[in-house]
């Protein structure tokens, strides 16, 4: 009896772990877990993907309330540091609908000049990877209309 219990214990534990992981992976916006929880568990990249639409709608609504709505397509994508390749926030990009559709991320390049000025160059790009071979391809006719910083 004890041996039989031992034999079935491993698969049961494995099954439980898989069930827990699966439960966590199907967490979507609108469930009890908020943006902060998602960032802590899965990181900024996943959180931006999961919350892209609600954040985009929130920004557009805020601009609409100021009677400053943008005439163009908008989308929220992660910001990638060109130096490290890591996700460091999110940005709302704006432009013609066919161009915005191709944007996957915003590449950020930080530079300093004359010792007093620092510049964050923000380039909408067609990939979510900026490390490795080849420079990321910028999307002309698009730009940034909002930045999103996360508290972790």
């Amino acid at each position: 009896m004890l041996k039989a219990l031992k034999e079935i214990r491993m698969p049961v534990v494995a099954l439980l772990i898989v069930a827990l992981l699966a439960g966590a992976l199907v967490v979507l916006p609108g469930t009890a877990l908020g943006l902060g929880d998602i960032i802590k568990v899965f990181g900024i990249g996943y959180a931006v993907s999961a919350f892209s639409k609600p954040i985009n709608d929130f920004i557009n609504r805020a601009m609409g309330e100021q009677e400053a709505a943008v005439m163009g397509a908008t989308k929220v994508v992660p910001i990638l540091s060109v130096g490290t390749g890591g996700f460091i926030g999110a940005a709302q990009v704006v432009g013609a609908p066919d161009k915005v559709r191709t944007v996957q991320a915003v590449g950020q390049l930080e530079t300093r000049f004359e010792d007093r000025f620092s510049m964050r160059v923000l380039i909408p790009i067609t990939t979510k990877r900026v490390t490795g071979r080849g420079a990321p391809k910028g999307v002309s006719g698009t730009g940034v209309s909002a930045l999103v910083d996360f508290r972790i």
Binding site: A62, E65, A73, A96, T142, G143, A146, D149
Partner: protein, 238 residues
């Protein structure tokens, strides 16, 4: 021969001047006034004394009356720029139903305003468009699907650096931004208004609105212009 020319020249010039003055005087003028509708304070926007919009709800930190005054100001800007009934349209901008005059946003038919009028946002925008067109001497446009977003030129032909000004605290500069867009739009851009907001207490949002006027208490967005770099200046070195 010469006295005859002189005799005719004076009345001719007078007639031309009169025509120009009549043209200037005849341009429609938008005004606003506070009203009480169903026991609630609201604002009306009028064109030459004819009511075109009724603003019933507060939004963006402004009362309905203040919003009506802002709409009248924007409408006057559009009319002074030569906008006529043919330039007025109801359209969708970033998911918002709006009324535009040329490329100037006049009023947003947000869901709360539409609900207060017993209409959908799209129906309200179309209703307002019709009222404005009629007040400007045009014919009420037939019902049909409104044009969609995407008819603005977003080509980055030119760029320049402008100051970033805070919407929340007017007069406070928050650095500078490099903006890009079509040449004429970049020429019209004077600053970038920064609007701060918070999403779910976890995300701090800074929205950038390229504007054509340094008075950003009512930002006048320049469509087709976006930000492609932010510049910070270190004021004190350690």
């Amino acid at each position: 021969m010469r006295p005859i020319l002189v005799r005719w020249a004076v009345p001719a010039i007078a007639v031309v001047l009169l025509a120009v003055m009549v043209g200037v005087v005849y341009a429609a003028i938008a005004t606003s006034r506070p009203v009480t509708l169903d026991g609630r304070e609201a604002g009306e926007v009028l064109v030459d004394g004819q009511v075109v919009f009724r603003v019933r709800t507060d939004a963006g930190g402004f009362t309905a009356e203040q919003r009506a005054a802002q709409v009248a100001d924007r409408l006057n800007d559009a009319l002074q720029a030569g906008a006529g009934p043919q330039d007025v349209r109801a359209t969708t901008v970033a998911g918002n139903q709006v009324v535009m005059a040329r490329d100037m946003l006049i009023i947003t038919a947000d869901p709360a305003e539409a609900a207060a009028n017993g209409l959908t946002p799209e129906q309200l925008a179309r209703e307002w468009q019709g009222n404005l067109v009629v007040a400007l001497g045009g014919e009420r446009p037939p019902s049909g699907p409104p044009p969609r977003e995407g008819d603005v030129d977003w080509t980055g032909q030119a760029d320049k650096v402008v100051p970033i000004l805070s919407v929340g605290t007017p007069g406070i500069s928050l650095g500078a931004a490099r903006v890009s867009g079509p040449r004429d739009k970049i020429a019209a851009t004077k600053a970038v208004a920064q609007l701060n907001a918070e999403f779910q207490r976890t995300a701090r949002i800074r929205a950038f609105i390229p504007v054509s006027d340094l008075n950003i208490t009512r930002p006048k967005r320049v469509q087709g212009v976006s930000v492609n770099a932010l510049i910070d200046m270190r004021l004190v070195g350690f």
